[in-house]
Symmetry: C2
Subunit: 277 residues, 2 copies
DNA sequence: CTCGATTGAATGGTAGTACCATTACCGAGC
DNA sequence: GCTCGGTAATGGTACTACCATTCAATCGAG
């Protein structure tokens, strides 16, 4: 009745890392499939011929990396998991947060990414997706027209629209990048919605962009995206300068929205972008 | 003589996480500056009113995140560190590795990133940087002309050229993204250099790209970048199909290199892209 | 006085035990 | 058949003891 030992005893000095590396290698080599359960901590303790603290340290590291999930209780233990983008985003966000990267740099990356994604989305998305994007943008505009917009809903819808756009590229990597940016880089976007001077124009501009995409007009869509980032940079500069400049340096694009398709909005509830009061 | 307790006792149930979060927050809020030393584990044990194992678990988590570095011995302990891009890249690489993302998707992202970076580099880099890029590309071509090229040197130079290009955008975020891509996504690039059918043309194309950038001709540079990715996709397809297609579907751009500036290469050491034997 | 070796203290690393909290499972009793 | 409670397995915490490493102060030889 010899137990099957698939691990070797750990070296002294940094036993925890050693154990973690061996288990990680076993997982990545497919010796443990996602969903499968690792031996219990006490079993591993015997296999590695070490203390339980070392095993726990290793498990903690793997948990941090998102490779395993640990459940308590009988039939609990460490279960191999798929690494989630979530964790990568957090790692990136931590990096950016500690470096205190200037907004200007992040915005530039974000804009270039948006442009790339937009081009691909125009080329590859289905008509249904494009129509959905326009409908979402219309909903966003309506939300922003309220006296006191529900900002939580606005941020959530903005987030969803961006993810939808990324998904329309038919390349999952862009969707992941977009998720990462929203976790770590997108805090600046909120300032556009928070400032009443930009709020409505931002929504209308989203709609313009969506319509450009739906029409299959890359240049139009990219123009509107450019306008979005002009506004964003201006808005941040204004916040930094302490309201020395007004938002009215920026020209406005007039626009009519037309009736909504999904929500119970009256047919005559058209929207003019001549915001103000 | 009351000690100064800046932390609160940990809650039961997930004491380790609680401690880790408190310390992490203290670091990110600037209560501990990079380079500064945290209290010893035994001190923290007293402050948090918990066992040393919990503290060690928390320290392990922070170490995993790259927020602290732990040294042994007297005057050792946990020192606050700057988070390194390195760790973010590893996190991303782990994610991609486990997901087995198809090369096609990664290449697409890589190409779009290259195009963005190239445009910015043309607009912002100094003449010296552009000249340096051209010189580096020349060196790459010369390396690739050898009978048995030093692949280690080739990969390293290719990596450096990409990083230089990213740095020329004057936006550190692009440099970080490039580093991340090289850690996790760039394994495919090597196949272009490994295959003799593409090796030399890849180098020459790098030089063409660099010259386009140096001349301030975005369209030219982007054309060559496009050619690079056409070759890469073709090369990978060829490897996948088992050599059914030949590399000669791809047209070649003839080119003369001219004398080298830095290395001791004879002046008549020009290079023609008519590779083949 | 100077330089080297020795020793001690501080600190992280490991081992081991004991106990608690949570969970799944099973059987007795209603 | 259903519910309730016991039981065992498992992770989470606490505590102790000891080892390994590092730095610095001290001691001693020259």
């Amino acid at each position: 009745m010899t137990e099957e030992f698939i691990f070797s005893p750990a070296q002294v000095g940094r036993a925890g890392e050693d154990v973690a590396l061996q288990i990680e290698a076993a997982i990545l080599n497919g010796k443990f499939q996602p969903g499968e359960r690792l031996p219990s901590e006490r079993d591993l303790q015997r296999q590695f011929h070490t203390g339980r603290g070392v095993i726990r340290e290793a498990m903690g590291a793997l948990k941090q990396k998102g490779l395993i999930e640990i459940k308590k209780g009988a039939k609990g233990g460490a279960v191999v998991k798929n690494v989630e983008m979530h964790l990568v985003s957090e790692s990136l966000a931590l990096f950016l947060k500690q470096r205190r990267v200037e907004a200007q740099y992040l915005i530039e990356v974000r804009e270039s990414m948006d442009r790339t994604i937009t081009n691909l989305a125009i080329a590859r998305a289905t008509a249904e997706e494009k129509a959905g994007l326009v409908e979402g943008a219309k909903k966003l505009v309506r939300l922003l027209q309220a006296q006191e917009p529900d900002m939580v809903a606005v941020f959530e819808l903005d987030r969803e629209l961006n993810l939808l756009l990324a998904r329309m590229t038919r390349n999952p990597v862009f969707e992941w990048i977009m998720r990462a940016m929203q976790s770590g880089l997108a805090s600046h976007d909120h300032s556009l919605y928070d400032d009443p001077a930009y709020r409505e124009r931002t929504g209308v501009n989203w709609l313009q962009t969506a319509r450009g995409i739906a029409r299959g007009e890359p240049l139009q869509a990219l123009s509107f995206i450019g306008y979005h980032y002009v506004m964003l940079r201006d808005c941040l500069a204004k916040a930094r300068m302490g309201d020395q400049t007004t938002a009215d340096d920026i020209p406005r694009y007039p626009l009519e929205i037309g009736p909504a398709a999904t929500q119970g909005v009256p047919d005559n509830g058209d929207v003019a972008a001549s915001g103000g009061k």
